[in-house]
């Protein structure tokens, strides 16, 4: 694999994300959030307790244990970032794969001495890195500000970077597959949003096993739960990590990774065989 070509493909994705205002949109929203914590949320800590906390200049609480409060704050922010950050990233970048397949553009890229697998992986990596850069900026910024204001440094919060980027990478594989099959940004967005909505429903497996009447329905439910990415499950795991609770079940991670790898492999297979 030629590293010069790989870097060029990644840089091109960044350039396009910037030109389409995707990068700057995400960057702007992240900056707004950082500014919110920097200037609007004021916390006075006195001997390990929050003396006063104010939002938009209004006091919201008194004499709370700062450790407990920070657990709640970090947990809330991590959940917010994970769900909205992921959704926003998918919406924003769903068009980056079909755009490279446009007639007149793809032929020129294919005419270069770069394999199709390399092209697709370079584009995929570029897309993941665009989101990783923004997520890192946001989470790191919020973490630094909150930690500096409260004096409580919780590095566990930084796991939400990995969780968000990981689940985005899994969902991006779906976007890539739909992109190479139908070149439709709208369909790619619909399917990934569908997976996001479906995930918390499928996660209610124990309840559903009692409610479903037939064994075949139960098997179908188990199949979907086991195969599809565990967006909800990974979100819960991230929350546990941030709240400093032990994580014992890693099934949501590795099963989602297998799903992502399988879907990305299928996308590459289709891309390699397609005529342009």
């Amino acid at each position: 694999m030629n590293p010069t070509a790989t870097i060029a493909l990644i840089q091109d994705t960044f350039r396009e994300a910037m030109a389409r205002k995707i990068f700057w949109g995400l960057f702007g929203l992240s900056t707004l959030m950082i500014v919110f914590f920097l200037f609007i949320m004021k916390i006075d800590v006195v001997e390990g307790a929050v003396a006063t906390m104010s939002l938009f200049g209004r006091e919201t609480g008194h004499s709370t244990d700062v450790n407990r409060m920070m657990t709640g704050v970090y947990g809330g922010i991590a959940t917010f970032l994970y769900t909205w950050g992921m959704a926003l990233a998918v919406f924003a970048s769903a068009g980056l794969i079909p755009s490279v397949l446009e007639p007149g553009r793809i032929e020129l890229i294919l005419s270069k001495p770069v394999s199709r697998i390399h092209i697709m992986l370079g584009r995929y990596a570029g897309n993941v890195l665009v989101v990783a850069a923004n997520t890192t900026y946001l989470v790191l910024g919020v973490w630094l500000i909150l930690s500096a204001k409260t004096g409580i440094w919780r590095p566990e919060f930084l796991w939400s970077i990995l969780a968000t980027v990981f689940i985005f990478a899994v969902l991006l594989a779906v976007v890539v597959l739909i992109g190479v099959l139908w070149e439709s940004t709208a369909l790619a967005t619909m399917v990934t949003v569908g997976l996001m909505i479906l995930s918390p429903i499928l996660a209610q497996t124990s309840t559903m096993m009692k409610l479903l009447s037939s064994e075949s329905y139960r098997n179908a439910w188990r199949f979907l739960y086991n195969v599809l990415p565990k967006i909800y499950g990974i979100g819960t795991m991230t929350l546990d990590v941030v709240r400093q609770k032990p994580v014992t079940d890693f099934f949501p991670i590795w099963s989602s990774a297998i799903f992502g790898a399988a879907v990305l492999s299928a996308a590459i297979y289709v891309f390699v065989r397609r005529d342009f």
Binding site: N2, D12, P103, G104, E107, I109, L110, P113, D275, F276
Partner: protein, 312 residues
């Protein structure tokens, strides 16, 4: 080192409709070769399979059957494309690039390192007359400028072969001349130039060899000079008695009077010599004997018309 830049053997592409199962043979058992260092023109009416053929050479389209080799290497392998510079017909360069940025991207994909790219990009922008436009976004370029920056893109990695699809499309006459001069300069350096064009007059003056495709098959291939000569001879004479004129009219393809001269068109050398003997025997004055040529357009129409007719 092979002498052939391109060798296609029984190359076939069949498109099948997913729903009806109907087949279209875009390219049908096409075999042709292009000599290293030559200027080769690929011609054909719309839908003849020219673009599909080019795309198979570049592996953008997978052949249904047959093989293609670029400088002896299997065209399906990415490495075979390293010596190729390509300019597609309906190219769509991303408008967020500047001219220099676009060249840098495609040069990097071709495997050029940063220092080589930094050296080569200003050289090429100057060569195609866009020296002052390198930092301007491509969205602001005119069609002719896009074509020229596209040519620069194809040349960026100093390829051994250029595959150009309608290279002068949208370019003004001065720009066309400039592009032709660049291409002639490259040919002098041994670069093979493969042109896919509808502009027959341009191909005729520029290319040494052509292939004409019709309905996915090779209708004609040969040197432009060979294809356009040998149609016959025009014999121009004066003081030709009417009786002799009528006599020669029976063997001539055509007879035309012009400013006191009569032009006889004969299909063969034998007919021309026989007519010449008769004219000299009658003390006629011979003004000129000229071998007549076909234009490439004549060759093109003759190559594609019967098949078009039979398809109806």
């Amino acid at each position: 080192m092979t002498d052939e830049a391109i060798v296609a053997s029984q190359l076939t592409k069949v498109y099948r409709s997913r729903w009806s199962g109907r087949e279209v043979r875009a390219v049908d058992g096409l075999s042709l070769s292009v000599r290293r260092g030559s200027i080769f023109g690929l011609l054909g009416p719309n839908g003849a399979g020219k673009t599909t053929f080019v795309k198979m050479l570049l592996s953008a389209v997978h052949p249904t059957a047959g093989t293609a080799a670029i400088f002896g290497r299997d065209a399906a392998k990415p490495e075979s494309r390293r010596p190729i510079g390509y300019l597609p017909e309906n190219h769509r360069f991303p408008t967020y690039f500047t001219g220099a940025g676009m060249l840098d991207f495609y040069a990097a994909l071709s495997g050029m390192d940063l220092s080589a790219r930094k050296r080569r990009i200003p050289e090429l922008l100057a060569l195609v007359g866009l020296g002052d436009w390198g930092q301007v976004r491509i969205g602001k370029y005119s069609k002719g400028m896009l074509q020229r920056v596209g040519l620069a893109q194809a040349l960026i990695h100093e390829p051994q072969m250029l595959i150009l699809d309608e290279p002068t499309d949208g370019v003004d006459p001065v720009g066309r001349r400039q592009i032709r001069d660049i291409l002639h300069g490259l040919q002098a350096k041994g670069v093979t130039i493969f042109i896919n064009s509808h502009l027959l007059a341009e191909v005729e003056t520029f290319c040494e060899e052509v292939a004409i495709l019709s309905k996915g098959k090779l209708a004609v291939q040969g040197r432009v000079h060979d294809l356009t000569t040998g149609k016959g001879y025009k014999l121009t004479a004066a003081s030709v008695p009417e009786r002799l004129r009528d006599e020669l009219q029976s063997t001539a393809a055509s007879v035309a009077a012009r400013n006191g001269f009569i032009d006889f068109q004969f299909a063969s050398r034998e007919q021309t010599n026989a007519a010449l003997d008769r004219l000299r025997a009658e003390q006629c004055e011979i003004e000129a004997i000229t071998p007549t040529t076909s234009t490439l357009e004549d060759v093109f129409v003759a190559a594609v018309t019967p098949q078009q007719g039979s398809a109806k």
